[in-house]
């Protein structure tokens, strides 16, 4: 009989844990994976560990032959902007930039300046950066 009550208590704990997980997962910082399409290029921004400070940003260009990709960021709320960082081409269509793009937490607009034979285009994605 006592064992059964233990089992019920365990079940209640499991349910409580699942409930907590469901409630808390909406607030957890998740990797950034955003795609934006302009008239010349399509770029996907991947940030595995988005946080204030040094970040590694991967840009995948799936439409248009981009030769160079440069990143900068603006926090419209506070009027902050960060210097432009040039991304290094790892392979055609895949660029990686490392630098301090987000000095503080908040909503940042990441500008992606792409250049190639098709011409220059500036795309942007918005992302929430949290501590």
């Amino acid at each position: 009989m006592i064992k059964r009550w233990h089992a019920v208590a365990a079940a209640a704990l499991v349910i409580a844990a699942v409930a907590l997980y469901v409630v808390s997962r909406s607030t957890a910082a998740e990797p950034v994976n955003l795609t934006t399409t302009g008239s010349r290029y399509t770029a996907t921004v991947l940030i595995a560990d988005p946080a204030p400070g040094q970040v590694t940003v991967e840009i995948k260009v799936s439409k248009g032959d981009a030769d160079t990709v440069a990143l900068s960021a603006v926090m419209a709320e506070m009027g902050h902007s960060t210097p432009e960082i040039s991304a290094t081409m790892r392979e055609p269509g895949r660029f990686v930039a490392v630098g301090e793009l987000f000095p503080m937490s908040g909503v940042w607009e990441l500008s992606i300046r792409l250049d190639g034979p098709a011409g220059e285009e500036q795309l942007a994605v918005k992302t929430l950066i949290t501590e």
């Binding site: 089992a7 399409t37 009027g79 909503v107």
Partner: protein
């Protein structure tokens, strides 16, 4: 047996997650006033309850237009997918249905005549809250366990039946507690919403000021010739184009252009041609100095007013103004009909600076809402250094009523605007305001 049921409960809870989008609600309509192809229209984008789903777009005309076709192009900024259609501007428009495949940032491109506007917007679809998931999950578990309890009880195993009944009670308790406390848990943002910090972490209120440059193309327009008034907006802190204007009072910007003497008046809604760039086409019949006042509002900020002036050259074009106080032009607000003798009533009759003045104006029946309000009162100081925009306060009967405290003594030019079934009526008048001690 119990282990199997516990596992079943966990699986039910875990597997229910992908179905979180089964209850969806429509987003809010987007309404944007535009002055395009010489017509004053309001573009309405009706929210969708699902994606892929229908996006309905209509163009409301506020003046007689004989089948003004407006080209529509909706583009997802994420994947670049584009759908096109055509809308006919009308007082009670037919809505054109376009299919959207996803939530998130989109652009609506409007084309009419040889003018184009690009309006950014987001397609949002409400998604289920974690609370609703727990409520239904808890009740579902309770139901499963109660049935199990009954079956176990029927096979004369009181211990197991009690355990299952206790499990059911736990499920009901979870559901009930979530029902009670759900209102205190913030709802999740709709699918496709712009990223935003949690309300508690937001310390900043308002955004940096806008630096605006207003200029005409050509630099000095000729009387009677069409020209473009350009408004270029730059963020005062970053130097970047300002592209976060909200649709305040149903427009990205309200631009009022008046001649120095006030005989020319236009209240127009420029088209966004590119990030930070707004344009509207105008023409003025008389040479002289003109004033432009633009009201706009950035996201999470208050309204801002920017002002500029320009000069129209060349000889006057007599046909453009024929005795009416405001001009009858093809662009912007139509003129008041010649012979309109309606005059506003002021209370007090001679307004005193710094004290509220009430302005009443009789209107015909059937006044309809324009720019979210029944009536608009635009006020300019004689010298153009003061500009005000007052809204109607919901007066009963066929009239509009405004209350405004004129800040300084002096002469003011004022225009009341309201929309009837087929036009926008503009009633100009002047107000002489006295100093308090001169009473």
């Amino acid at each position: 047996m119990i282990r199997v049921l516990c596992l079943a409960a966990v699986l039910v809870l875990a597997l229910a997650a992908p179905a979180a989008a089964h209850t969806v609600t429509a987003g809010t309509d987007l309404r944007i006033a535009q002055t395009i192809a010489g017509a004053e229209v309001t573009v309405v984008v009706k929210g969708t309850t699902r994606v892929p789903g229908p996006l309905r777009i209509g163009v409301i005309a506020y003046q007689p237009v004989s089948g003004l076709p407006i080209g529509l192009e909706v583009r997802s900024v994420e994947d670049g997918r584009t759908v096109t259609g055509t809308a006919q501007a009308a007082a009670n428009p037919q809505y054109t249905q376009l299919q959207v495949e996803r939530t998130g940032p989109h652009e609506l491109k409007l084309s009419a005549g040889n003018e184009t506007a690009v309006i950014p917007f987001r397609v949002l679809v409400e998604r289920d809250s974690a609370g609703a998931f727990l409520i239904y999950g808890g009740l579902f578990v309770a139901a499963v366990l109660l049935v199990g309890g009954l079956l176990t009880g029927a096979t004369a195993r009181p211990g197991r039946a009690m355990a299952l009944a206790a499990g059911a009670a736990a499920g009901v308790t979870v559901a009930a507690m979530v029902i009670v406390f759900e209102s205190q848990v913030p709802a999740p943002p709709p699918d496709g919403a712009a990223p935003a910090p949690a309300p508690t972490t937001s310390t900043a209120e308002g955004r940096p000021y806008v630096q605006a440059r207003m200029e005409t193309v050509p630099a000095q327009p000729e009387a009677g010739e069409e020209f473009t008034l350009r408004v270029d907006l730059v963020d005062g802190s970053t130097g970047r184009p300002v592209d976060d204007l909200t649709a305040h009072h149903e427009a990205l910007a309200h631009v009022v252009v008046t001649s120095e003497d006030g005989r020319y008046f236009r209240h127009v809604h420029p088209l966004r041609t590119a990030p930070g760039h707004l344009e509207v086409r105008l023409s003025a019949g008389r040479p002289g100095r003109y004033l432009a006042h633009a009201e706009l509002e950035r996201e999470n900020s208050g309204g801002q007013l920017v002002a500029a002036d320009f000069t129209v050259g060349g000889p006057a074009k007599a046909s453009a103004e024929s005795g009416t106080v405001t001009e009858s032009g093809k662009t912007g607000a139509p003129a008041t009909q010649a012979g309109t003798t309606v005059t506003p009533r002021l209370q007090p009759a001679v307004p005193i600076a710094g004290r509220p003045t009430t302005i009443d104006l009789d209107t015909p029946a059937g006044v309809r809402t324009w720019l979210g309000m029944t009536g608009h009162l635009l006020i300019r100081g004689q010298d153009g250094r003061f500009f005000g925009h007052v809204h109607e306060m919901g007066a009963p009967g066929s009239r509009v009523r405004f209350t405004f405290s004129f800040p300084e003594p002096g002469r003011y030019l004022a225009w009341v605007q309201y929309a009837t079934a087929d036009r926008i009526v503009t009633v100009p008048f002047t107000v002489n305001v006295t100093a308090p001690e001169a009473k």
